[in-house]
Amino acid sequence: MMSKPKVFEKPIGVKDYLPHAVVKLRQIENQVLACMRSWGYEQIMTPTMEYYDTVGVASSTSDRKLFKLLNNRGTTLVLRSDMTAPIARVVSSVLKDSQFPLRLSYHSNIFRAIEEEAGHEAEFFQTGVELVGDASAEADAEVVALAIASLKAAGVDRFKIAIGHVGFLNGLFEDTLSGRTDAQEELKACLLGRDYVGYRERLRELAIAEPVQRELEGILRLRGSQEICLQALQLSSNATAQASIRHLLEMWDVLKAYGVCEHVLIDLTMIGDFSYYTGMTFEGYAADLGFPVASGGRYDNLLKQFGRPAPATGFALKTTRILELIGDSESDLEERVLIGYNDAGRALALAKAQQLREAGTVVITEKMEQSTAAEVTAAAEQSENGEKVVYKGETFAAFIRFFGEQEGASL
């Protein structure tokens, strides 16, 4: 189907970033990383490629979404599909003698083979943290509070974080559908697929007592603030479910102390991938953007796959989507100065350029004809916005001439 690509085409799902976008992206990246650093998270970098059998298999990305390639020995490699698995590898190997807790941050490009159409990118940026070696609700709350601080640092104004806990549903289903693992799996699959209609249908087919059915239907409404947890406590006496809710209540108290509860929503139907997440999970949503801007949660089973069992929690901001969100506001490239010179003025011109650059000004130098310099000056004097100089399609804040031994008129 695919014919030979045309020269302007690039593979589906990848993007070019032009100067204005790069300025914005770097701005977001720097502000978010600075925020993370101020919370004690140190940035690390890992390779773009990893082994399929280790990091590839351990990652939460489904197999068909991995970019796989062979190296010259025929070993299967993957392009990293998240940063969590590579960091788990680093923590268990290179950093194996470092004491817990470890606080690490990253900003990195991530690769996922796309399945369908646009909106699902094949390469995108994530900025995130992992907090390894702390199983407490305090640690989970820290990660959520940092996600909120990071979204603010990135310039996102209106957003919400929804927090759930995989233990609650696990416990509730164990309790109400004990031994019926197939039914449990089916119900979870419906919730994971956001198919509430299917979930209710399955429930009706299950032939369970009316009150239990109503209870299980009721969880679709467990969404709100702290009082939702109190409701949920009444719902199931199962130990796992109760422990999960207590954990969320503890987190809520910590988040209250952080002063960020206005952004937080408890949503017990919000479940991440059950095979990966082991505790609380969360997602961040921004107004005016159809896709989540952040996701995270607790994954206590990952590190043991790399030989250093430890609890861990973390999140990633979808930096590329945040760029989409705030990229509309006009970003300003810095003011620039143009210096024109001839042979005689070169030494002075370049010295002046260096002096200005050291002071933080962006300077472009060009050897030009004296007549050209005169034209530029004349055009600038006649132009309506007097201070700006337009030369070869670019706008400059000032034009300085060096023809001969002296600095010419500086506009």
Partner: protein
């Protein structure tokens, strides 16, 4: 990605309709919307078959639907006083609008949801536009060596036969699917059956029913959280009307 639904559509397509509102408690909805942000709740409505039944359901639930909507050719109608705006879409595109968040919620048939497989919340079975997805063939159908199945729903058809352990060639057609077995393009078809009238008239029989179809209320992942109060309140009202009906 366009975040402004109005963007790119001519001004003449945009109209604020204030007349002909049949609504009882818009105040509550508007207040809920106020609390969840200043934006309108954007509803993608399917044109055609489902539309009439869906708008009837909305009216019964006391939800605002512009009365001049039924025969309008406008694509977008805003009802700012009700906090809602309606987008008229081709049914098969409704899940796409909702997945991208250019519509917060939408109404769409289960057939389209199964075929398109988009990442959206399926909140409510509206119980309207009932029909079923079926395998259809000539009455004297016998297994053939190279089975060919014509359909408007290639994903649904492929998946169904795969699960049966049969390898078939799926041929995508865009209309008059019933023609295919009659003229020998395919030995069977997979299509929606409502009354079976078209089948009978063309001497075809329903061989197997794959799944039942009704219209569903769907929501965008982010909207469902950011505009939860408005969406939940709308859901509850619809649920109330649906619940009151027999066999829903």
């Amino acid at each position: 990605m366009s975040r402004n639904v109005n963007g790119g559509i001519g001004a003449e397509a945009l109209q604020t309709s204030s007349g002909g509102l049949e609504t009882m408690d818009m105040g509550i909805l508007a207040a809920a919307l106020e609390a969840s942000g200043r934006d309108l709740l954007k509803v993608a409505m399917p044109k055609g078959r489902i539309y009439k039944q869906a708008s009837k359901l909305f009216r019964e639930a006391g939800l605002p639907i512009p009365s001049d909507f039924d025969d309008t050719r406008k694509l977008i109608i805003e009802l700012p006083e009700a906090g809602m705006s309606f987008i008229m879409a081709k049914p098969v595109d409704v899940p796409t609008y909702v997945e991208y968040g250019v519509a917060d919620i939408g109404i769409v048939g289960k057939d389209v949801l199964m075929e398109e497989n988009k990442d959206v919340y399926e909140l409510l079975d509206l119980g309207i536009a009932k029909c079923r997805m079926s395998v259809i063939g000539l009455p004297d159908w016998k297994p053939v060596i190279h089975p060919r199945v014509a359909t408007k729903y290639p994903n649904v058809a492929s998946q169904y036969f795969r699960e049966l352990g049969q390898q078939v060639e799926v041929i995508k057609l865009n209309g008059s699917i019933e023609l295919a077995p009659l003229i020998g393009l395919a030995d069977r078809i997979v299509d929606m059956v409502e009354t079976g009238q078209t089948l009978r008239e063309n001497g075809l029989v329903e061989m197997e029913s794959i799944f039942g179809i009704t219209s569903r209320l769907i929501a965008n992942r982010v909207s469902y959280r950011m505009k939860n109060e408005a969406i939940q309140s709308l859901c509850d009202k619809l649920q109330h009307v649906i619940g009151a009906k027999p066999n829903a």
